[in-house]
């Protein structure tokens, strides 16, 4: 059933498309509609057998595929596609929502496009669309103000270097850097910028919400693709391996084994006989690791190497002393 529906849906779009764009080759059509040459031929063979009563030569749809050209006639009643359905409109609006913050330069154009899409819907469909919109929520927003976002898009697409003021989100350290912005990544609900950092002379990852100021320069750069690890480019990780990385081993109680497996999906997690687990990963960023472990401080049972264990323990002790005070102790800012 579903197969027939899918095919028919494609054909009801294909026929008007061919009639509207006689210049398109069969090869173009296959690409546009995501079908193989064989499927296209098969669909045309079906159309060839359809039409109006009494199904004589003057009533049937006329279609030929010749020299990579498709030609359709006698199907005036299929000269335009079926009106947009609520589901289709919804898919477009979601696309606008997700990409909107990124295509900052086009945000006005996208807004107008959205209005036009809504205007193409019948009253019934508008109601169905509203219903769909109420049932799905994706709060994806650009975390840079529109102005800075559009400067950044410009920097990426035109390959122009940019000067930024960056505040490290966890330490609060502020630095000024010159960057060659390569890519943006959305991972786990946060935006990251992958860029070549002139002061570090290497690839670095920045959280977009840490960029406080961004100015375009007139300097052009070349992307050094060889610096970008494949896993980063594919959006599988936001971690950049470095020469200072060392292997750490962490062991956890059974109670949070599930959390460990979920939080470090893709890393090596070994399950122990008692239900606990051991996580092995490479990192040089102890600060970040310790903060993550502090989410479940009492479930961590072992850390290697020793300097990591020390640092974790010192942090836990300092925090414990803060909480031992009956009232809030004076905070030491680190």
């Amino acid at each position: 059933m579903a197969k027939v529906r899918e095919r028919l849906e494609k054909m009801l779009l294909l026929v008007p498309y061919v009639m509207q764009h006689p210049e398109l080759t069969a090869t173009d059509l296959c690409r546009h509609f995501g079908v193989s040459r064989k499927e296209l031929t098969r669909d045309l063979q079906v159309l060839f057998l359809c039409g109006l009563p009494d199904y004589g030569p003057g009533d049937l749809i006329f279609c030929v595929l010749e020299d990579d050209r498709v030609h359709i006639e006698m199907a005036d009643y299929l000269a335009r596609p079926v009106r947009l359905t609520a589901g289709e409109a919804f898919s477009l609006l979601l696309a606008i929502r997700i990409a909107g913050g990124l295509l900052a330069k086009s945000s006005v154009a996208l807004e107008r496009a959205e209005e036009k899409i809504r205007s193409a819907l019948a009253v019934q469909e508008l109601g169905d669309l509203r219903e769909l919109e109420e049932r799905v929520a994706i709060p994806v927003e650009a975390q840079l103000p529109g102005e800075a976002m559009s400067e950044l898009s410009e920097a990426i697409t035109a390959q122009r270097s940019a000067d930024i003021t960056y505040r490290a989100v966890n330490t609060g350290d502020v630095s000024r850097r010159r960057l060659d912005p390569y890519y943006l990544l959305l991972m786990y609900g946060k935006w990251y910028l992958v860029a070549y950092c002139h002061s570090r002379q290497d690839l670095r990852i920045f959280r977009l919400d840490g960029i406080e100021d961004l100015k375009l320069t007139d300097l052009r750069f070349e992307r050094r693709e060889e610096l970008v690890p494949a896993r980063l480019r594919e959006g599988e990780t936001v971690y950049l391996p470095g020469p200072q990385d060392c292997t750490v081993r962490l062991s956890f109680t059974p109670r949070i084994a599930q959390w460990v497996r979920e939080s470090w999906a893709g890393e090596q997690v070994e399950t122990l006989a008692g239900g606990g687990c051991v996580l092995t990963l490479k990192t040089s960023n102890y600060g970040w690791l310790i903060r993550r472990l502090l989410q479940h401080p009492s479930e961590v049972v072992g850390l290697e190497p020793e300097d990591l264990r020390r640092q974790f323990l010192d942090t836990v002790r300092r925090l414990r002393r803060v909480y031992e005070g009956e009232t809030a102790a004076a905070l030491s800012v680190t």
Binding site: A75, P81, L103, E131
Partner: protein, 338 residues
């Protein structure tokens, strides 16, 4: 005569007609119904065909005494002119969205774009956009679950699945009236009324075990209603500690002492800054925010590291202390594995 041919003939017949057509006319004139002997079998076949076309968005009306009719203005896509930059932005947006494996209605995107740009000379951007956008890991299994859930929400059909929450030792069977799904920090969540527990609950879709199965209910029509005013959007904007997984506990006022460098990260959650007021300065500030779920809140708070301290409620503060003391004990001695 194959079904697809009969469907096209039926559509052509009704689209080409200026007046409603009776069942008799359809049966005697549309090629494809001729081999069907009984009136009863014809009616069944026609009903199925009609539903099939309606699923595609074909508006087939029934006019009393007269028969079936497709109003042309309701069938054909109205003329839509997009400016070149609008068309380009739309195509680019669609290409970014197409790479998101778990996006709802993603399979509609392609035909939607072709339709909407029907009257526009569409510039097709061949170059890959310099953006990698990834909303979440997409396995086939997750995709299948979400598909079943989306369909169930739309038709208001009850589903059941096996679920293992983060603190559950074993997976449990749940029967749920799904209300909608939302995306939060890398994961899709299902909101719905759990019939097993009789309350509103949130489920992380990747913690479901195996497939989501529809529960047999009424063959047609809805099996439950979503309470008016319920909005998944409201859930999607919140931190987990702002929500309780279950309806019930009221939000608790939490007082924190925060070092200035952590203020920006906390800003969205703060309801009041007690002292000192105003911005800037190196002094720690006392702020108030609201939370419902103590354990989630402490996880989040301790995960911020040093520079923030929970002041009140006293019971939450004691819990933080006991977690930290236990931690010190666990890793304080010689490192031991196994």
């Amino acid at each position: 005569m194959r079904k697809i041919e009969r469907l096209i003939n039926l559509l052509a017949f009704l689209l080409d007609s200026r007046r409603p057509r009776s069942l008799d006319e359809i049966r005697s004139r549309v090629l494809g119904y001729e081999g069907i002997d009984s009136e009863e079998a014809f009616r069944r076949a026609f009903e199925r065909d009609k539903d099939e076309l309606r699923e595609l968005g074909v508006p087939i009306e029934y006019h009393e005494e007269e028969g079936y009719f497709i109003p042309k203005d309701a069938y054909y896509l109205p003329a839509l002119a997009f400016e070149p930059e609008e068309a380009l932005a739309l195509s680019l947006a669609a290409r970014i969205a197409e790479t998101q494996p778990l996006l709802p209605a993603r399979n509609r995107l392609h035909s939607a774009l072709l339709k909407i740009l029907f009257d526009t000379e569409a510039p097709s951007p061949e170059e890959k956009p310099p953006l990698v956008v990834r909303l979440g890991e997409g396995t086939e299994e997750l995709e299948r679950r979400l598909e079943v859930l989306d369909e169930a929400v739309g038709a208001r059909k009850v589903v059941k699945f096996s679920y293992r929450g983060i603190s559950d030792a074993e997976p449990h069977e749940r029967t749920v009236e799904p209300y909608g799904r939302f995306y939060r920090q890398g994961h899709w969540y299902l909101a719905g009324r759990c019939r097993t527990r009789g309350r509103l609950r949130l489920f992380r879709v990747d913690r479901i075990r195996g497939d989501v199965e529809p529960v047999a209910g009424r063959p047609k029509g809805r099996d439950y209603e979503i309470p008016p005013g319920f909005s998944v959007a409201e859930y999607a904007r919140k931190e987990l500690w702002e929500l309780s997984e279950e309806e019930g506990p009221l939000p608790v006022k939490v007082k924190l002492r925060v070092a200035p460098h952590l203020l920006p990260a906390l800003r969205p959650f703060i309801s009041t800054v007690e002292r000192p007021e105003g911005e800037g300065g190196a002094e720690a500030r006392e702020v108030i925010l609201e939370a419902t779920n103590r354990d989630f809140f402490l996880q989040w708070l301790l995960g911020l590291g040093e520079g923030v301290e929970l002041v009140e409620p006293a019971e939450w503060r004691r819990e933080a202390l006991s977690l930290l003391s236990a931690a010190e004990e666990a890793v304080g001695g010689a490192a031991a594995y196994g």
